[in-house]
């Protein structure tokens, strides 16, 4: 297995969480979603985060994705301490470092696959022609060049998720965050998407963090982290099953 060598390709951590806590509400109704976690992810790794609902895995994902900020502790992404940033600063980190893949695909409806993939580049102020070229290249990467003009409604679930992955990849992000990417797909599509992610991780060295509750899916990752009650209870590197 070549996975560990990719994981430690340059040994440097892209994600560093230190004593991260997230508390919702106050007083009686206080909910501790994250009870204080320390957690590094190396550049080029493929990490699966598992846990039951309410375990804190989604909160952790939101913080990793700079969509939410921790109540306490620090989070460094690619060397940038995100906990010092607010609003637009976090947006810039998302814009330049992170690609998102969601369970529900979250494509703009009535908008062609190509336009969907172009969207992150619009916010990066890339010129129209370059945008188109990059989006087509990205669609090719996920094997959907021939579906560029189709709207999400005209695509199957697996194809929609591949468009979403193409959208996440079009900016060449350092980090790909996938939240239950196969949650809405049957097993054949699941395999297709997971192979694509593994491929991207291996061939392009993209760091992938994926939330899932299916052990089968988690098994595609190099490293599996299990959350329970806001804490990491298990952190292992099983041999790749597929």
């Amino acid at each position: 297995m070549s996975a560990p060598s990719v994981q430690t390709a340059n040994g440097e951590a892209i994600i560093e969480l230190r004593g991260v806590k997230k508390v919702y509400g106050e007083g009686e109704s206080e909910v501790r979603a994250l009870a204080g976690i320390d957690f590094d992810i190396a550049r080029g790794d493929f990490v699966a985060i598992m846990g039951t609902s309410g375990s804190g895995k989604s909160t952790c994902m939101n913080i990793l994705g700079c969509l939410d900020v921790p109540t306490a502790g620090s989070y460094r992404l690619a060397g940038v301490t995100t906990t010092d940033l607010h609003g637009d600063g976090l947006t810039l980190l998302r814009r330049h470092y992170i690609g998102f893949v969601f369970q529900g695909f979250n494509l703009l409806s009535r908008t062609s696959a190509l336009e969907n993939v172009e969207l992150p580049l619009v916010y990066r102020r890339v010129a129209a022609r370059e945008r188109r070229t990059a989006a087509l290249r990205s669609l090719e990467l996920v094997g959907l060049s021939d579906r560029a003009d189709h709207t999400p409604q005209e695509l199957s679930g697996g194809q929609q998720q591949r468009v979403a992955i193409a959208r996440a990849l079009v900016t060449d992000p350092e980090l790909l965050l996938a939240d239950e990417p196969t949650g809405n797909l049957d097993s054949a599509r699941t395999q297709e998407i997971m192979n694509l992610l593994v491929d991207l991780n291996r061939k392009r060295g993209i760091t992938i963090v994926m939330v899932t509750h299916e052990p089968d899916v988690a098994a595609y990752a190099n490293r599996v982290v299990v959350f329970r009650d806001g804490l990491i209870v298990e952190d292992s590197r099983p041999g790749r099953a597929h």
Binding site: G65, L67, T91, L92, R94, F100, N106, L108, V122
Partner: protein, 401 residues
């Protein structure tokens, strides 16, 4: 980026064509109504002012009988030649004076007949009322003195009785007398309140008094004031003179009536202007309602597109960019509605003006104002929904179903 956002807004509008059209409709109707109503109102004002002007420049009309409620005149001592001569002699600023006794009579020529207004007057009438001879001549001094039956006819009478044949020298029957036509008048068209100014026949006052009415009364004295004078001062002098001549006791009401055309014109103009402003204001309210319609749709749209907003925020849109997108959508919608409204309003007022035979007036400042206001409506009513969109939490927005 701005252009990009405008394009994005246009794409969004096109994507929901029906909804966008319905949203714009309020603004379209508002702007269109303001422009059409103001345009037609201005046209009507222009037309009425011009028509009153056509009656004669600086014209004053003196008639016997007090002005009473409802505009009717009560019976009173009538005016006569001496009154008219006194006005011409004693009032300064009087340019010309003409008698104008008239009566509605049947005029017959061959097998055709027409009912028209017969006016007994003198040659000053042409000057005072602004009529010109088209063919033939005015009355001679001898004709005016002797009261021979000669007459000058207006264009309408000429058309009705003679069609294409030459009326000069023809004898027409007016009541019991036979009258020779010595001239025709140049057409003056319609005056204010739709009065046909060409439907008349003129004959010397002496002829009229002797052969038609049988008395020496003058029902109307027409006075034209000198150019540039304030007609109300002239009117006041005439009033004073007539009160004295008719021995009206101090404190009593006038038993005659001096009407000042300039004053009537002012009254009519200010009335139509006020009416135009009122109609414009009502239309402006509908524009406001149109704006609220846009806000309503945009608010619904923000809720409906919560996920989209979440996606945009997650993949790297600034809150400000999302806000700008929604604001621009509202502005594009309302300005597009404004443009369509301006065009439809002008087309509507063009056809309305033609149907009502009014001049077609484009009120430039109202067009500009209505358009600017429609854009402003977009900013004002787009702001709230746009801010709501920008303030969404991306995590919750993405979870929204």
């Amino acid at each position: 980026m701005f252009l990009q956002t405008v394009l994005m807004a246009l794409r969004e509008i096109r994507r929901n064509t029906l909804r966008s059209v319905l949203t714009m409709l309020g603004v379209v109707i508002g702007v269109g109504a303001v422009i059409a109503l103001v345009s037609v109102g201005r046209g009507a004002t222009q037309k009425v002012t011009a028509d009153i002007g056509k009656l004669g420049k600086n014209l004053l009309m003196v008639s016997a009988g007090a002005r009473v409620k409802g505009g009717a005149s009560s019976a009173a001592q009538s005016l006569n030649m001496a009154d008219m001569q006194a006005i011409a002699r004693e009032i300064s600023g009087v340019h010309a004076v003409a008698p104008g006794s008239s009566s509605q009579q049947q005029v017959i020529y061959g097998n055709k007949n027409a009912s028209t207004s017969i006016t007994g007057t003198d040659n000053n009438f042409f000057e005072v009322r602004g009529y010109a001879i088209e063919k033939g001549r005015q009355f001679t001094e001898a004709e005016a003195q002797s009261g021979v039956p000669v007459c000058v006819i207006g264009a309408t009478v000429k058309t009705e009785l003679f069609a294409t044949t030459d009326p000069l020298g023809a004898q027409v029957r007016v009541g019991k007398i036979s009258c020779q036509i010595i001239g025709t008048l140049v057409s003056k068209g319609t005056a204010g309140m739709g009065q046909d100014q060409d439907d008349l026949m003129l004959m010397p006052l002496a002829t009229f008094q002797r052969r038609i009415t049988g008395n020496n009364d003058i029902s109307l004295i027409l006075v034209s004031a000198e150019e540039g004078l304030d007609t109300s001062i002239v009117a006041e002098s005439i009033r004073a003179l007539l009160r004295q001549r008719r021995h009206r006791p101090v404190g009593s009401d006038d038993d005659f009536n001096v009407r000042d055309m300039a004053e009537i014109a002012d009254t009519v103009t200010s009335t139509t202007t006020a009416l135009t402003a009122l109609l414009g204001a009502i239309a402006a309210v509908s524009l406001l309602v149109g704006g609220i319609g846009i806000m309503n749709i945009m608010l619904v749209s923000v809720t409906e597109r919560t996920r989209e907003i979440g996606i945009r925020l997650a993949i790297g849109a600034f809150a400000g960019e999302v806000m700008m997108q929604f604001l621009l959508e509202a502005i594009v919608l309302s300005t597009l509605g404004g443009i369509i409204g301006v065009v439809l309003g002008l087309i509507g007022s063009f056809f309305a003006a033609r149907a009502l035979s009014l001049p077609f007036v484009i009120p430039p400042e109202i067009v500009g104002l209505a358009f600017a206001f429609s854009a402003l409506v977009g900013v004002l009513f787009g702001y709230l929904p746009a801010r709501k969109a920008a303030q969404l939490n991306p995590i919750e927005a993405l979870r929204h179903e």
